[in-house]
């Protein structure tokens, strides 16, 4: 759902950076409190995720670095630091140490009822905020400079959006883990974009795709003993993406290809008809028969195009001879004038 905003901002890497940035937070929270309590650890993740995000912003505005570079930098810095801490924790003679690595790849099976409630509540809050500031989010995403001239504090809107993306990521960490989190954030949104041209529908679809991936992925992994949930969920979401990219009616590859082939066929047909028209024009009587061989000189002519023209009653065939019908002649004449006006 919130992924929609990330996708539209062309900040796909941001999700990646944030989730990786959350890792040291988890480790530090564990080191400080020694507890494995989920809320404490996620709080740590939230704090370090936010720090990472605002560092990225700072780097982008204060230096010449491109945003990709800044994101990559923070991503590897925080992740490296987080892994270092995890290794350090694992070397400690502390019985509690296990269970932290679940945040790497996620482990939905460890979710308890309370966690689920927590997720539901936070999702609810996100939803309310999103509906409240819908207008502001939309205009900022479309045209930030213009938004500023209208008197909106774009920084506030921006921080709001970013904070929610961070929050969503941190919550999802437990389920799908640091490594796959950004895929989970972006996949439903990318899939949804293929099906619609409306922002509200896109966000709605993304939420459905995301929820469905979660439920379906969990169900699949439950049937198999050693399938961990997180990766399966992400896999299901990816299936949505692939399916959407191929089959979406307006933007999908399949329909584009079909349209392309169809357009080319039409064009071939038109060209052949135009060629016949030229030949017919040189005779007083338009339906004067000509030999089929005459057409062989024309590139793009095939037996099937001729047959199609016959089917459309543009052309009559008699053995090896063809002639244009009145209908065919008129169509071709119109085609001809249309083409010349298009060329201007």
């Amino acid at each position: 759902m919130l992924g929609s905003f990330a996708v539209l901002r062309k900040q796909s890497l941001l999700g990646d950076a944030i989730s990786h940035a959350a890792l040291p937070g988890i480790a530090i929270a564990f080191l400080i409190t020694g507890a494995k309590d989920t809320n404490t650890l996620l709080l740590g993740a939230l704090v370090s995720g936010l720090i990472g995000t605002f560092w990225i912003r700072g780097i982008i505005t204060k230096t010449h670095l491109k945003s990709d570079t800044a994101l990559g930098l923070i991503l590897s810095l925080f992740f490296g630091f987080g892994m270092l801490l995890l290794t350090f924790i694992q070397k400690q003679p502390n019985a509690n140490q296990a269970g932290l690595d679940k945040y790497l790849f996620g482990q939905a099976a460890t979710l308890v009822e309370r966690d689920v409630w927590m997720m539901a509540i936070v999702t609810g809050i996100c939803l309310i905020v999103m509906l409240t500031f819908w207008k502001e989010f939309k205009i900022l995403l479309f045209d930030a400079d213009y938004t500023k001239t209208l008197g909106f504090n774009t920084k506030t809107i921006d921080i709001l959006i970013t904070s929610f993306i961070v929050l969503a990521i941190v919550l999802g960490l437990q389920t799908v883990g640091v490594v796959l989190m950004s895929a989970m954030l972006l996949a439903p949104a990318a899939a949804a974009r293929q099906w619609t041209n409306s922002l509200s529908v896109m966000v709605f679809l993304a939420a459905i795709f995301g929820a469905f991936s979660g439920v379906f992925g969990t169900a699949i992994s439950a049937t198999q003993n050693n399938l961990s949930t997180g990766p399966v969920i992400v896999l299901v979401a990816s299936v949505f993406v692939v399916f959407s990219f191929v089959f979406s009616p307006s933007r999908g590859l399949l329909f584009k290809q079909i349209r392309f082939i169809k357009n080319r066929r039409d064009l071939e047909l038109h060209k052949t008809l135009a060629f016949m028209y030229h030949i017919a024009e040189s005779h007083e009587n338009i339906s004067h028969p000509h030999t089929v061989r005459l057409l062989n000189n024309f590139q793009g002519y095939t037996k099937s195009t001729l047959q199609k023209l016959v089917d459309k009653q543009y052309v009559e065939l008699n053995g090896n001879m063809w002639n244009l019908t009145k209908k065919g002649f008129e169509t071709a004449a119109n085609l001809y004038t249309k083409q010349t006006t298009d060329d201007e």
Binding site: K10, T132, F133, K135, K138, D145, T149, L199
Partner: protein, 245 residues
């Protein structure tokens, strides 16, 4: 006759990072003119508009709109950004984009209602885009997208209009439609400031002109200052041939 000053720029200097892009600009734009800002690519034309509108923070200098800072006079000002500055693949419709022009007067959280929709439809009508109101913006031609941007500014119902290259990449009929709207605005007493690229059409379209190339070269009535001397100073090459056909 003493004209009121609509926009006043004092000692404005703007830089991205450390390289100054505008240097010590002083500019007074009288009320009711249709003014072109001309200058080569990278001269800082867009930057000047963005600085006046508070999108960019200048290093030095001050801006006033009818004698007060821009923040107090926002409602008097409308902006048409360069068309290339937004992603036209964004999932939204023509009407939706024009409606954005009403967001400023709505303020935070409040949603546009019937009144705003009516204003947006009227603006679409003015730019001849009413039949396309529900069209996805990515499926509009360049000229149509430009008209949508213009309609969004018209909805703001301002006194001063800033437009960044509204004629860029539009066909002849759109160009005529746009210039007619601009002239109608001037006739209604509005002040219109346009970043313009086609020097040939300056005398025909505009009555005021500012030459800009990092520094301000000249500003004033077209009939007085639109000459080879200023063109050469601005563009660095001799423009005699191209202008005096």
């Amino acid at each position: 006759m003493k004209q009121e000053i609509a926009v006043k720029v004092d000692d404005l200097t703007v830089a991205y990072n450390y390289k100054p892009v505008l240097w010590d600009i002083d500019l007074e734009i009288p009320e009711g003119v249709l003014m072109a800002i001309v200058g080569p690519n990278g001269a800082g034309k867009s930057t000047l508009i963005k600085a006046i509108l508070g999108i960019l923070k200048p290093i030095a200098g001050s801006i006033s709109i009818y004698g007060k800072p821009y923040e107090d006079q926002r409602k008097l000002v409308a902006y048409v950004p360069q068309k290339g500055s937004v992603d036209w693949d964004f999932p939204t419709t023509a009407l939706d984009v024009v409606m954005m022009g009403t967001y400023g007067s709505l303020g935070w959280i409040k949603r546009p209602g019937q009144k705003q929709k009516k204003a947006a439809l009227e603006a679409l009508e003015k730019v001849g885009m009413l039949p396309f109101k529900n069209r996805q913006i990515s499926q509009l031609s360049g000229g149509q997208q430009q008209r949508i941007f213009l309609a969004r500014a018209l909805v703001q119902d301002a006194s001063i209009y800033f437009m960044d290259e509204p004629f860029q990449g539009v066909d002849a009929s759109t160009e005529i439609a746009i210039i007619n709207i601009l002239k109608a605005l001037r006739k209604a007493g509005k002040t219109v400031i346009v970043v313009h690229h086609d020097l040939q059409t300056v005398p025909e379209y505009f009555d005021w002109v500012t030459f800009l190339n990092v520094k301000k070269i000249a500003t004033g009535p077209v009939k007085d200052i639109f000459n080879d001397d200023n063109l050469t100073k601005t563009y660095g090459i001799n423009y005699k041939v191209s202008i005096q056909e």
